[in-house]
């Protein structure tokens, strides 16, 4: 079903500060969508508005064909896994997962809770208290607590950001499996482009309270529409064409040691297989990395470089 979640001219504000302005977004049923952007871009605010935790300054939120703009969070049938997990410390793991089910007098409560804990691999922790669990385990409890409610939409706020690298990979796989198994519509908020690229069916790149670009991970990664979008996915050297548009290169595409341009090395760092350089040049700041097989450049040294057109991405706008 298309337009399963529909944000229509959504405007959100904190006091006089507009956080999101006239945003339009459609999410299909069963889709895993990512709201991606730097902090302050309005992604979390938008997510809170879908959940009903944020009063709307303007516009509407539709879920499953119903205008839920004035419906309180308790009746929206959405799930939210908070960045802070927000487990109830006075309740056991079992009671945390049972919290919502008890409120609606679920007939098969025990079974439903244990199924939920089974799903996240924490069945044997049912009697523990959240404070006895590791961060990763707490997050899985929070996930189970939301999923057992069978929400129409599951919202996840930076679910991977508090986990260490290995747990992050586990959790990512788990979320994908969960989404495949349950077919639940998921909206996932992150500032980390690699997370978004790895997980999402569709990425919504946000900037200053508006949508910058919507696309599949491939589109976002290889065909950014603007300087902002390009920079966000790693095209760090941007060369304007003087007419508003321009070209952009990834650090690996910049050729150092030869070419028509030259610049002064401002920064150099060793990154294992590659060395990363920041150059100041007449055409702007250039970020490059080259194989360690190349001889190293010193800070302050003037280096020739080339920006080969065939490795560039074309930008409609450079701002």
């Amino acid at each position: 079903m298309s337009d399963f979640v529909l944000l229509e001219n959504l405007t959100l504000a904190y006091g006089k500060t507009i956080a999101v302005e006239a945003l339009n977004l459609s999410i299909n049923q069963g889709e895993l969508i990512t709201l991606l952007g730097p902090s302050g871009c309005g992604k979390t605010t938008t997510m809170r508005a879908i959940a009903g935790l944020m009063p709307l300054r303007g516009g509407k939120v539709w879920i499953d064909g119903q205008d839920v703009s004035r419906i309180p969070p308790s009746k929206r049938q959405v799930g939210l896994v908070f960045q802070s997990y927000a487990l109830f410390p006075h309740l056991s793991v079992f009671e945390n997962v049972a919290f919502g089910l008890r409120l609606r007098s679920e007939p098969n409560l025990k079974q439903a809770v244990m199924d939920g804990l089974e799903m996240v691999g924490l069945a044997e922790f049912a009697d523990r208290h959240p404070t006895d669990l590791s961060g990763g385990q707490q997050q899985r409890v929070a996930l189970a607590r939301s999923v057992v409610m069978k929400p129409k939409v599951l919202l996840l706020d930076e679910p991977l950001s508090n986990l260490d690298a290995r747990l992050r990979l586990d959790m990512r796989t788990e979320l994908q499996r969960l989404q495949k198994d349950t077919g639940i519509t998921m909206v996932f908020v992150t500032h980390d482009q690699s997370e978004a690229l790895a997980l999402a069916d569709k990425i919504v790149l946000m900037r200053d309270g508006a949508i910058e670009q919507i696309g599949t991970p491939e589109q976002i990664y290889s065909a950014p529409v603007s300087g902002f979008a390009a920079d966000f996915v790693g095209f760090e050297t941007i060369l304007p064409d003087g007419k508003g548009g321009g070209q952009a290169w990834r650090p690996g595409a910049v050729v150092l040691g030869q070419g028509p341009y030259n610049g002064t090395v401002r920064g150099a760092s060793f990154a294992g297989e590659r060395r990363e350089y920041v150059l100041d040049s007449k055409i702007g700041v250039v970020k490059a990395d080259v194989s360690v097989a190349h001889p190293a450049f010193e800070i302050g040294q003037t280096v020739d470089f080339d920006l080969p057109p065939e490795t560039a991405v074309q930008l409609a706008r450079v701002d």
Partner: protein
């Protein structure tokens, strides 16, 4: 904290000696007075005390006012604390300052202010008369209502402070998480806020209850001799009647009531928690 326990003990010793010599021992002697009749141990003084209808009235009134003030403080305190913790930090500081401001003003001054406000020609009665609600001014002063109002204003800040700090320690998103899981506001309060702030409620409740019970100036000024509470009765027994035995009995009752209130509140808190 100290590598050598003896050092820690030695450091607390002066304070311990001070407290023991100048507080515990005299209090012990004073209180034991109430258990002695003609040199032998007895609880006769207590039986005497409670056999007087007037004393029973004073005792029950003290209990009732203490409980009422604590109860109303809790209700108002939760509302106030919830608003305060949801404010942005700068205005939170300001409002919190406003709440604690009365604590910095002498209780005598505050209580006299109530005389002005609640008096026959005071602010409240003027409004009531001008609005045509009553022709003759209400007699608010020297009633339980006046004492209640005075005590409430005196001690509510303590409840608010306890509840604010308890609420600040709640997990940041616990309330929205409960909302999203389907809880209405009543359920959010009962299952999450109350559950997570019980210790603050116990502390605030004990402070307000014992504070109200043992306040002297407020009931003395706003209640006068018509609305005696245990504390004003105690003072009267000593200064007017030179009756140290009754005074000791009252002091003992007040101590027992304070401790019981604390134990009871703690018991309620832990009983709900272990469910």
């Amino acid at each position: 904290m100290f590598e050598n326990r003896a050092v820690g003990l030695a450091l607390t010793l002066p304070a311990a000696i001070f407290a023991a010599a100048l507080f515990l021992v005299p209090v012990g002697i004073l209180l034991s007075e109430a258990f002695r009749i003609d040199g032998s141990w007895s609880i006769g003084a207590y039986i005497d005390f409670f056999s007087s209808a007037r004393n029973r009235t004073v005792f029950l009134r003290t209990l009732k006012l203490g409980a009422f003030v604590a109860g109303v403080s809790a209700i108002v305190g939760y509302a106030a604390a919830f608003v305060i913790v949801s404010l942005p930090p700068t205005s939170r500081g300001r409002i919190f300052g406003l709440v604690t401001l009365p604590l910095m003003i002498s209780p005598v001054a505050r209580t006299y202010a109530w005389l002005v406000i609640l008096g026959r020609t005071g602010f409240v009665n003027q409004i009531l008369v001008n609005l045509g609600i009553t022709d003759t001014p209400f007699r608010i002063l020297f009633s339980e209502t006046a004492v209640f109002i005075g005590l409430l204003q005196l001690f509510m800040p303590l409840m608010i402070i306890s509840l604010v700090s308890a609420m600040e320690n709640m997990p940041k998103d616990a309330v929205p998480a409960a909302r999203i899981l389907g809880a209405n506001w009543f359920q959010v309060f009962w299952r999450v806020i109350l559950a997570l702030t019980r210790e603050g409620l116990v502390i605030g409740g004990t402070l307000v209850f014992t504070g109200s019970m043992t306040a002297y100036i407020t009931p003395a000024i706003l209640g006068g001799s018509k609305v005696l509470m245990l504390e004003t009765l105690l003072y009267q027994r000593v200064t007017v009647a030179n009756d140290f035995v009754s005074a000791s009995v009252i002091a003992m009752i007040l101590i027992v009531m304070s401790f019981s209130a604390n134990l009871l509140l703690k018991r309620i808190a832990t009983a709900r928690k272990s469910r």
